[in-house]
């Protein structure tokens, strides 16, 4: 009996010590994280920016069933050509958007799996292990025909990756991945539709300006990083294009619905979409996207 007690005590003593160690590690990790959070939250000039995942952007843009154009995605064969961390991170974002886009296409192909494998390879290359695991690949395999499930998996993948990068203090890499994701999402969306096809969808595409603004402010927090600095420079054309759009503006009014306490927020800015603005958007986004996916010689 005593022997049993000694063994149990020994186990817990060992556990307590290792726990102390890992707790210490955890504490130091937490304090780094805390510093990061206080940096983000404590200073008045630092804000936490939330960016929607590519599938959320697509679901916001494509409100009606459209024939999507998979020929616009970046071919998986390009992936092996990205050899530096910058192009690997940017194109990881590009492929995440491609995966979200392909998941929205109701077809009988298995392209999504190919894209997920490339995403996993690029994640490994930028030291992001374990996000796309066998379990996720199996789930994709089992849900290839179920659009909603693929959307959920795509969203889960994006947010898991962002959380991992944020909590490991690799926000510069997160900026690069977000750059690829947002540019690719806008590129696929604008090339999916002609100006005279659906006014509402085009308006939704232009509304992504607000997402881009948030992304750009977030990225600017890390502009001292050499990778981020060059990427921001490359995005100037898109930033200028968005900044020079025309708006109609009405005063914002907030009222309360009497029956359910819901607030009704009406008014604000609305982008005026003209054919000229549409063509400018398409040209600028296509040029930047071509630069991002071109083999490594881009944005150096």
């Amino acid at each position: 009996m005593k022997m049993k007690l000694i063994i149990v005590l020994g186990f817990f003593t060992f556990f307590a010590f290792t726990q102390c160690k890992s707790e210490k590690k955890e504490n130091s990790q937490q304090s780094t994280e805390h510093e990061e959070i206080t940096q983000a939250f404590g200073n008045s000039d630092k804000v936490v920016y939330m960016l929607p995942s590519p599938d959320e952007m697509f679901s916001e843009i494509f409100i009606e069933d459209l024939e999507l154009k998979p020929e616009y995605v970046n071919p998986v064969t390009n992936a092996t050509n990205y050899v530096d961390i910058k192009s690997q991170s940017i194109n990881l974002g590009v492929y995440i958007s491609d995966f979200a886009y392909l998941s929205a296409v109701n077809d009988n192909t298995t392209d999504e799996l190919e894209y997920l494998k490339v995403i996993r390879e690029l994640m490994d290359k930028v030291n992001l292990y374990g996000i796309v695991d066998e379990n996720m690949l199996d789930r994709i395999n089992n849900n290839l025909m179920v659009k909603d499930s693929l959307d959920k998996i795509s969203q889960e993948l994006y947010y898991k990756m962002s959380n991992t990068l944020e909590s490991s203090d690799r926000n510069n890499i997160l900026v690069l991945v977000s750059t690829g994701a947002i540019v690719e999402a806008l590129y696929l969306a604008i090339n999916n539709i002609d100006f005279d096809q659906s006014g509402e969808i085009i308006q939704n595409i232009f509304d992504q300006k607000f997402v881009f603004d948030n992304y750009y402010e977030f990225a600017s927090q890390y502009k001292d990083d050499i990778y981020v600095k060059t990427v921001l420079k490359e995005l100037t054309a898109i930033k200028d294009m968005f900044d020079h759009l025309d708006f109609s503006e009405t005063d914002i009014e907030v009222t309360k619905e009497s029956d359910n306490d819901f607030l009704v927020i009406q008014g604000g800015k609305e982008i005026i979409v003209t054919e000229e603005a549409y063509i400018g958007f398409r040209e600028n986004i296509t040029n930047v996207r071509t630069l991002l996916v071109s083999i490594s010689k881009s944005i150096n």
Binding site: L9, F41, G42, M50, V254, L263, Q266, K269
Partner: protein, 156 residues
């Protein structure tokens, strides 16, 4: 034998406590107080988030809210650290749209928005019952859980 049982009990309690302390705020917004129990067609919005905040210190959170959508935003923290004060404003005009101090620091707010805009949430954990001298920690997990749905069409 009873003594043995007591020792096992104490050791198990020690195990559970140490494990609990090693937890962080990840996915805190998906926990109890932040959930809504009647979905009414609302779906989870991916921009929901958790963070470790210092009490009585303002934190800022900025996100895009799309037009023609209904939103429900629920804020939560640990028991004993309430109330949470939050102010929602438009990022462009800095116009204040809602201040929950006018509603007794209610933890959730629902709104309909007709035009896409960037909204800023200024959040402060007031923790009125927590005194610095008797508090275990002045930092606490806070979750901001957002739900959305397309504005339902009226009529037949």
């Amino acid at each position: 034998m009873i003594r043995m049982k007591k020792i096992y009990f104490l050791l198990i309690a020690l195990f559970i406590t140490t494990s609990a302390f090693s937890q962080r705020c990840d996915n805190y917004h998906k926990s109890g107080d932040c959930k809504i129990y009647r979905s009414d067609g609302f779906e989870y919005y991916g921009q929901s988030r958790s963070a470790l905040l210092e009490i009585k210190k303002q934190a800022t959170f900025k996100a895009v809210f799309y037009g023609d959508r209904d939103y429900k935003v629920v804020l939560c923290t640990d028991y004993g650290y309430y109330p949470i004060h939050y102010v929602i404003s438009n990022a462009d005009t800095q116009e204040i749209l809602y201040d929950n101090s006018e509603d007794d620091y209610v933890e959730s707010v629902g709104f309909t928005i007709d035009k896409t805009q960037n909204l800023v949430f200024d959040i402060t954990v007031l923790a009125e019952d927590v005194k610095p001298k008797d508090s275990f920690d002045l930092r606490v997990c806070v979750g901001v859980n957002i739900y959305w749905r397309k504005v339902p069409k009226l009529g037949f």
